[in-house]
Assembly symmetry: C2
Homo-oligomer: 403 residues x 2
């Protein structure tokens, strides 16, 4: 089988290297083209700057899109599918928006569109989710979807370093990009959660403007220490539930007891869990990023196509309603302004700069946080784990009542 690779960054290079070096050679795989930008030196004979040359090549069976970003990735993927090429991508940003469009185009043209590497990198998460769906209804998905933010939070707590120090280190190590906003503002998590929810619920979650997303940009070392003193580690979590044709969806910092799996997910690792109605909880853990784990996932998709192993078929056409009130949670909010009045319906208690808010609907809390940020743009919040917080066993026992 002949493979064209669009883009020659981390993922593209990884795919190229594995095809060249590993046992896949014995499987008759080879790289026919590598799409690079016009002004790039063509150091390999496979390199070209013409997408048309690629999609019109009758011998090329599979196009691996490794450009990243929305455009031209979106147009190139569609073009490849329309020209009868199977397409594989690790590009979560473009799939989060166009999954249904790509899937419909692939069906129409009798080819495959696979994207295992887009969520969880080297973790076989998409496949694990699809396999669970073969036999069960998945009601909850929750986890640490972003390696960069996890690396930052882990280093802050382990080395007592500030957010800015660790971010600079992550950028030096290549874990974070020059513009880190997708990672630290929760956008990358939102994309991955969106793809997971689309598959789990068979929906097409395109309009994410209303969805509550809060990242870790404002976290301080003092926050991390305060949570730790109360027995918690903080992690950036994506979470969704469904029930009765409604679903919720949130990306936010969440606290986990020190001995929990989440609290012990180190470095740039990911931990994603699903809950099935009959089969219960399944955990998926591993390196969520990195050249070789991600490229390995792409190659696995290539081999599934070669061996004619179908992935789960979804139409993404079920209609479900997003509910901002479906889930209630306890939150810790740090703000310099007096926000007790904004939150007075939810029995706020206070310790130092931190308000503990009780059983507020998730959507409501995120709305109020937007108001708080207008007064104090350094404010931060984190939810407490939902089913574990009872006042009797809360580690937060020394709160003062807010008058």
């Amino acid at each position: 089988m002949k493979i064209a690779i669009l883009g020659f960054g981390t993922v593209g290079k990884g795919v190229y290297e594995i095809v060249k070096k590993a046992n896949v050679q014995t499987q008759n795989l080879s790289v026919s083209h590598i799409l690079v930008r016009k002004n790039k030196p063509r150091v390999l004979k496979e390199m070209t700057d013409s997408i048309d040359e690629i999609v019109n090549d009758q011998e090329t069976d599979i196009v691996v899109e490794a450009l990243g970003g929305i455009e031209p990735a979106h147009q190139y993927i569609l073009k490849a599918l329309e020209h009868g090429k199977h397409v594989i991508t690790a590009n979560k940003a473009v799939i989060a928006i166009y999954l249904k469009q790509f899937s419909d185009a692939a069906n129409k043209h009798g080819v495959k569109f696979y994207f295992e590497a887009s969520v969880g990198g080297g973790i076989p998460w998409i496949q694990g989710l699809e396999k669970a769906l073969r036999i069960d209804t998945v009601n909850t998905i929750s986890g640490i979807f972003n390696g960069t933010s996890n690396f930052i939070l882990d280093q802050m707590s382990r080395n007592e370093e500030s957010f800015d120090e660790v971010l600079a280190e992550a950028q030096k190590l290549g874990y974070a990009e020059a513009d880190p906003s997708a990672d630290i503002d929760g956008i990358d998590v939102a994309n991955k959660l969106c793809i997971s929810a689309d598959i789990a619920y068979n929906i097409n979650l395109q309009d994410r403007k209303k969805l509550p997303i809060f990242g870790i940009r404002n976290i301080t070392l003092e926050d991390v220490d305060f949570f730790s003193q109360h027995g918690y580690a903080v992690k950036l979590i994506g979470r969704t539930h469904q029930a009765d044709n409604k679903f919720d969806y949130v990306v936010e910092p969440t606290l986990f007891a020190h001995h929990s799996l989440e609290a012990n997910t180190p470095d740039n690792y990911n931990l994603i869990s699903l809950n099935g109605e009959t089969i219960g909880k399944l955990d998926f853990f591993g390196q969520g990023a990195g050249m070789l784990p991600t490229a390995n996932a792409v190659i696995q998709d290539i081999l599934d196509i070669k061996e004619d192993k179908d992935h789960l078929k979804r139409n993404f056409d079920k209609k479900m309603i997003y509910s901002s009130e479906m889930t209630k949670a306890d939150y810790l909010v740090r703000a310099n302004a007096d926000v007790g009045s904004l939150l007075k319906e939810y029995s706020p208690t206070k310790e130092g700069n931190y308000y503990l808010i009780h059983q507020i609907p998730v959507g409501k809390m995120h709305q109020i946080m937007q108001v708080i940020l207008k007064d104090d743009d350094s404010a931060f919040m984190a939810s407490l784990p939902q089913d574990k917080i009872k006042s009797s066993d809360s580690h937060l026992s020394k709160q003062e009542a807010v008058a």
Copy 2:
């Protein structure tokens, strides 16, 4: 598809329940027979005590062997394969010995023999290993394969309870059996490592008498505390490497730094890692036992058969030599007897009752341990992580030299 279940213990019941309750109903799966012992009350209409009735039933497509143990499981599996039934089992003890025989019989009769649930329970480990092997050579497999022993070690360290106390608790919770020797003496780990090595290296590792296996029966709370003071948690590990047509293989307690993934694998969870020549390290983590996760893995095999998804084909006919000298490691040995002389070639140093032994071949250490146990049947040992121990950064800095 019609499924016969042999045995109605934890796994058999789990499979029955999922087929009855979950979406698999929509996949036209049903249970045709449940094999139970003659003297058992037949509370379900599917129950029978005749294996011949099952294998001779033309309508039954798949036999799920959930009896456990070697015989009659071995004979029943063969019989089912010979009668043209696909067979699925979670029974690691019988596969560890007869994998090649079963696989040959399945090939001869044109049916499938799948066993995802046998190693790692609900973790898709066999599949993960097989997928890695599609594209790469796997050189190392290492991990926590046994949930019961991990639960015991985790509880001892977390709650400062003795081995006997925790074992009794594990038995009460149903995590450990009345006779716990398979779990605590490393036999279960040895079986799972054997199956994994058979697949990874395409060998048929039947004669395990020479292989070094040391369990956790002798561990004390003092051992756990001593290791912890030096920065380590102890875990029961199975480990194998290959190079140049040789391989090694060991089951033994091993120390891991407190922040490592292994040290943070809690309760009855498993963590299994492989190292591929090109793709690097992949980790597989999750619940290694339990009714629903294990039954889910069995159902996934059933659906793979239904959807005609082939698993990796192996002949298990490669010849490789086991080498007891291939790997050297540092060990901590606790013994009341003076064992310094037995180990004097390996620069032993001593702290309290613990000898630190340097760079001894793994096979040699296990041989000497058998000699030590004759003098002190309460002696214990644990290896230190191989690539992490340099004398300069060892946490064991206060040893006295042994004269």
